[in-house]
């Protein structure tokens, strides 16, 4: 089983503040962490390795300091790590990011599964995982909350997806790309052995030369169709809350139903 986990280094948003003039994040002096959702993806990859053998490769695209995020993943137990970094990749939007990662993944093939977090907490788009799947022309299963069955022999997987309307159970073939939600597991901590391995490990750095298949037109700012026109705070929500009171749950429910009917909500 070869699991590839795509991770992103993000500013620790619990520490981040917004510059009120530019509406952008103040990143100076803020610690960087692995995107929290990606830690669940790493954990799931490690669990698959523990069940089936094989290896876990972590992949990130980012500035040179994103190496720290890879080391953290190695300290948790990942076997290999690749850092994609090049000035030519700078300014990538979600499309160009997915494109670049997918070209790197082709170099890492064969693989059985690609794991991503459901979204990154800085950009919050949730588009890169699905974009990679499209670029590689493999199926994607997003918002996965459990792997119910997986069999590398018959190349079959069954997962539970956590959707707004409920849970959905889906069967699919391998190789596949999963984006995972935080219900899927409890990520482990790095171990001392892992920390030693990580600090001694030379992490291979891939620049655009390392991706000869990649079309330079599709990389970085140049390859990014997205244009940020303006960043602004959404207007604060208005409206008011009403607290219903009543003696029994049944009475309360009846009151609520009446109100919803009167307001034509139901």
């Amino acid at each position: 089983m070869h699991a590839i986990v795509c991770i992103k280094q993000v500013p620790d948003t619990t520490e981040v503040r917004i510059n009120p003039e530019t509406n952008t994040l103040i990143r100076e002096g803020v610690a960087s962490i692995i995107n929290p959702f990606d830690t669940y993806a790493i954990e799931e990859g490690l669990r698959l390795k523990e069940r089936f053998g094989g290896k876990v490769t972590v992949l990130t695209m980012g500035p040179p300091q994103a190496r720290e995020a890879l080391k953290e993943a190695v300290a948790m137990g990942a076997d290999e790590a690749i850092l994609l970094t090049d000035k030519a990749f700078a300014g990538s939007d979600t499309w160009a990011t997915a494109y670049t990662l997918s070209r790197a993944i082709r170099r890492l093939a064969p693989f059985d599964i690609i794991l991503c977090g459901k979204q990154a907490i800085d950009g919050d788009t949730g588009q890169v995982g699905p974009g990679i799947a499209r670029q590689l022309q493999i199926p994607q299963l997003t918002y996965v909350s459990r792997i119910l069955e997986i069999d590398p022999e018959s190349a079959h997987i069954r997962v539970e997806r956590l959707l707004e309307e409920g849970r959905e159970i889906v069967d699919c073939s391998l190789p596949v790309l999963l984006t995972v939600v935080k219900d899927i597991n409890q990520p482990r901590y790095p171990t001392f052995m892992g920390i030693r391995r990580a600090t001694r490990m030379e992490i291979p750095v891939w620049d655009c030369q390392a991706l000869p298949e990649a079309n330079p037109e599709y990389l970085g700012l140049r390859g990014s169709p997205t244009q940020v026109v303006r960043i602004f705070h959404p207007p604060a929500r208005s409206g008011q809350a009403t607290l219903l009171t009543g003696d029994t749950p049944a009475l309360l429910a009846a009151q609520l139903a009446d109100r919803l009917l009167a307001d034509k909500v139901i």
Partner: protein
């Protein structure tokens, strides 16, 4: 000279910080309020390798160095003192002492399961009528064939009701006991399962309420001769050398407590408004914050120096004592100021700082009170006290040796 933490140390720091935030912080208020020791933390600390953090891999440890031990203590006490105390007694006072003084058989039998966290260990020197005055202890051990028979009471022992193994000190020479000649004292490893061992918990402590502190009663406890640690008459030296490591963990922990006070105070000073501005804008509040920063940096530098000396295998009794004195006294001052910064809210358990204040006082007393540390510093400065070489010195930290498999 390099003041930066290595990448490895930074990763250790992050790991323990994360561990403490996820495993300890969510329930700490409850445990503190109800004076309950959360035993379930022990297997989790064990799984993480924390219970043998700086012990060699071949003795079941994680093979890290003394700075890693210190960083772990800082991060644990950042959340609560009780969890740092576990490392102080289990690793600092007991495990490292077995490493320094134990025979190979003792290390295999006791140190290996302790480092793995399969057995929990503590250290019993203090008695109901003797704390600072260690030579004033009353416990005795008399020889009977291939056994020693121990009698006595230990008091104020951390993890007394939790630990499986105890390192205790008792007089083996009654003449010397009467003469207060410390060369009549010896050290013993006793197990909870030995006949005549009883323990209990002390309730109603000012702080460290999420920790376990108690008493050990020894009534005619038969202890196999091979459970004497070191040689007959070496007990006092062993007890004091153990404190060189215990105090080190206490000092580091206190720096964590200072940082917790600083972080909480900075956060609150930016939120709370008074006289039309956030209180951080008032200079007298700034003075308290500045003082916390001063105490944090100075305490931490003293800890780092002590850790560096330990890694080098250089005797560090004076430097460790200085770090312990400065860090613990500072943590008490900073915690008091942190309550002040929080005003009335700081006086309630809605915020953490009242717990920090209650916790901080203990460390000013245990492992050598503030007064005892002052005496030590003065005696070194005046030339009244000199380090004499020990029969068993703690070796320098060598990653190759520490990380070598059995």
């Amino acid at each position: 000279m390099d003041f930066a933490l290595s990448e490895e140390h930074q990763m250790v720091q992050r790991m323990v910080r994360d561990f403490a935030a996820r495993e300890i912080a969510p329930n700490i208020k409850d445990h503190d309020r109800h004076q309950t020791f959360d035993r379930s933390i022990l297997p989790r600390m064990a799984a993480q390798g924390l219970l043998g953090i700086c012990l060699p891999v071949r003795y079941g440890g994680a093979g890290m160095d003394f700075i890693s031990l210190g960083l772990a203590c800082e991060e644990l006490e950042y959340v609560d003192t009780a969890y740092r105390v576990i490392l102080s007694v289990h690793v600092g006072l007991n495990g490292l002492t077995l490493l320094q003084w134990g025979t190979e058989e003792q290390k295999q039998r006791y140190l290996v399961p302790q480092s793995l966290g399969e057995k929990i260990a503590t250290y019993g020197l203090t008695e109901p009528s003797a704390g600072s005055d260690a030579v004033g202890i009353q416990s005795t051990a008399r020889r009977e064939g291939d056994h020693w028979v121990l009698n006595g009471e230990k008091m104020w022992i951390s993890l007394a009701d939790v630990a499986d193994n105890f390192l205790v000190f008792a007089w083996t020479d009654q003449e010397k006991k009467r003469a207060r000649d410390h060369t009549g004292m010896s050290a013993f490893i006793i197990e909870r399962s030995f006949p005549g061992v009883q323990t209990g918990t002390i309730h109603g402590k000012l702080g460290v309420r999420a920790g376990n502190t108690g008493w050990i009663s020894m009534k005619d406890v038969p202890v196999p001769a091979e459970n004497m640690l070191g040689r007959e008459g070496e007990g006092f030296y062993i007890a004091m050398s153990a404190l060189d490591n215990g105090r080190y963990t206490v000092a580091w922990g206190a720096t964590g407590l200072i940082r917790a006070c600083l972080d909480a105070s900075v956060r609150y000073a930016r939120e709370r408004q008074a006289f039309g501005v956030e209180i951080g804008r008032h200079e007298l509040v700034q003075q308290m914050i500045a003082n916390m920063q001063l105490k944090y940096d100075t305490a931490r530098l003293l800890c780092l120096r002590a850790g560096w000396l330990k890694n080098q295998g250089v005797r560090n009794t004076r430097e460790t004592s200085l770090a312990k004195w400065h860090a613990t006294v500072s943590s008490f001052e900073c915690a008091a100021d942190a309550v002040e910064v929080h005003g009335a809210y700081g006086y309630s358990d809605e915020y953490d700082v009242e717990r920090f204040l209650r916790n901080s006082k203990g460390a000013v007393i245990y492992e050598g009170s503030r007064e005892i540390q002052q005496l030590i510093q003065a005696q070194y400065a005046l030339g009244y006290r000199k380090d004499r070489p020990l029969r068993c010195e703690m070796p320098a930290y060598d990653p190759v040796v520490w990380q070598q498999e059995a």
